[in-house]
Amino acid sequence: MKPKRVKFAFFLDLESAYKTLLRNKIRSFLTILGIIIGVGSVIATIGIGQGASKAIQNSINSMGSNMLIILPGSSSLGGINSGFGVLPTLTLNDVYAIRKLSSVRTDTAILGMSQQVIWRGNNWSTLIMGADSTFPIVRKWPVAKGVFFTPQQVASAANVAVIGNTAATELFGLINPIGHIIIIHSVPFTVIGLLSIKGFNAFGQDQDDTVIIPITTMMEKIAGTTWVHAIAVSAKTQKDTVTAQSQITQLLRQRHHIPINKPNDFFVRNLTEIAQAANSSAATFTILLASIAAVSLLVGGIGIMNIMLVSVTERTKEIGIRMAIGAKKSDILKQFLIESAVLSLFGGLLGITLGFGISSAISAFSPLKTVVTAEPIIISVVFSLCVGIFFGFYPAYKASRMNPVEALRYE
């Protein structure tokens, strides 16, 4: 009867390594403490870093997705430079031309001014904004009730308005504003939609204190101008914001007939760039913390090597016995490598638990919400395994090179 070969030798090795390490619980624990602290701090710091960059991302995203803002240029007359937005250089035709660019999802003209709004006996001074029907997409700002105005309503300069939550509360109180007529600058408007609540912007302005009307209506019936204050552009993807910036610059220079040696009569601001700058400073901070953590992993690895060397010396006799009954060099090497790998993997797993604990504690007791993703966990597991194998190799190699006669003689 010939016994059959079974494939699960690796699990036997694993089990044997596990048992060996359990026999020296305290020593094993102290050995992997470095790895535990290292991995724990890697997970925690990356969690903090990702939480911070997510917070930045969120506040930038609330302004609009992949957004660029185009403002009219400043004038320079007789050595006196005026500020942004005073030149009447941006027109609705610019808006429609930009919308055709390959990198642009859509855009909207914006023309705003403060006006008194009247409904029955109430009146309220608020920001009246002329915008295109694409406004909810560009600003990521949908209506909560009713509808936003259509391209047809923009084309026909219809007297319709979509009202922000703060303005609605001030004018209508608890009454549903939809369907009511409000008066702006002596012109009646039908309220057709209520915007969802957007909150305050980064400068502390209440973004909900506004009434939005079609840009054409705004230009013809309220402001009486042929140019717009700003164009808000939504690029197709975050990457496209850079392309969009150069495409828009090129297009507008062409449309405005600006000679090569003259400066732009407009400004293009890329909000994603600002977000990326903020993100990269958060990333630098994370890298700094993570490298400190990596050093402690390295120290942990050296601790493992030290203990494995002790363990190999202690078990010289055992190595001799195993060699005498037929263990090859590779068998001995494998035995000790598996042992150190199991040791550091254990450290890694405990470290992940610790890191999770620290992350949740920070989330619970501070305003920062940490984000622990799968990535640092996988990296930690792989890294601690590698640390174990790398630092376990020399002791294991030393064990495998022993002379069986001398090893057997060892007491």
Partner: protein
């Protein structure tokens, strides 16, 4: 070819040709074995006797493929094993030779059964069948009741019987025993020696026993005396 075969076409189990062993410690060299010639046939029960320093332990290490001679050739079943690599020697120890040492040399962390299964594990066998082989070997030395105990839970005599079970589990043709009764009292010692006789008689295993104890050596059928690195005499008892 280093592998030379007997002209009769039948090789002896072991043939040592002019084996020499020189140890160098610093600038001084010690010639421990000075041209040993020895033939052991299959199924023999041989004891090697000699005082300490006679070279009998070195001879046993070479016979057991734990060490390589400085000069000469060692033919095991016709194959020259004196120039093999450490891994090739490990395989020969695993398949052809079972060891029983004076100090039992069991692995304390492993159970009796696991200790006996270890040579099978290194042979690449690990299954229910290898467990059965180990249980059979333990039955041979009357230890079926203690398979799940650990070495420190049984007596010295029992530990040595576990070592015998471990030596025979792979059906190795050669059992090498180095002072197997050295750590045991005379009753336990006799007990262990009876098992060697049994293995020799029932399994046909060749037994090579190294000892300095005349009473132990007397269990063998041939007595080889080593002195100062040479074979002094070889007599059939």
């Amino acid at each position: 070819m280093a592998n030379s075969y007997d002209i009769t076409g039948k090789d002896p189990l072991i043939r040592l040709e002019n084996i020499g062993m020189i140890y160098k410690i610093g600038d001084i060299s010690y010639e421990v074995l000075k041209g040993i010639n020895l033939t052991v046939e299959n199924g023999e029960f041989v004891s090697i006797m000699g005082a300490s320093g006679s070279g009998k332990s070195t001879l046993m290490n070479i016979l057991g493929c734990l060490d390589k001679p400085t000069s000469g050739n060692y033919f095991l079943e016709g194959r020259d094993v004196s120039k093999l690599t450490p891994d090739e020697l490990a395989e020969i120890r695993n398949k052809k030779i079972g060891f029983v040492f004076q100090g039992f040399n069991l692995i304390q962390r492993l159970s009796i059964l696991e200790n006996v299964m270890l040579p099978l594990y290194y042979a690449g066998l690990h299954s229910k069948d290898s467990e059965e082989m180990a249980l059979n070997a333990l039955k041979l030395v009357d230890l079926s009741e203690k398979v799940n105990k650990f070495p420190n839970q049984i007596s010295g005599g029992e530990q040595q019987r576990v070592a015998i079970a471990r030596a025979v589990v792979n059906d190795a043709p050669i059992i090498m025993a180095d002072e197997p009764t050295g750590n045991l009292d005379s009753v336990r010692g006799a007990d262990v020696m009876n098992f060697f006789e049994k293995i020799n008689a029932e399994r046909g295993a060749t037994i090579i026993l190294v000892t300095h104890d005349k009473h132990v050596a007397d269990y063998a059928k041939r007595l080889i005396t080593v002195k100062d690195g040479i074979i002094l005499s070889s007599e059939t008892i």
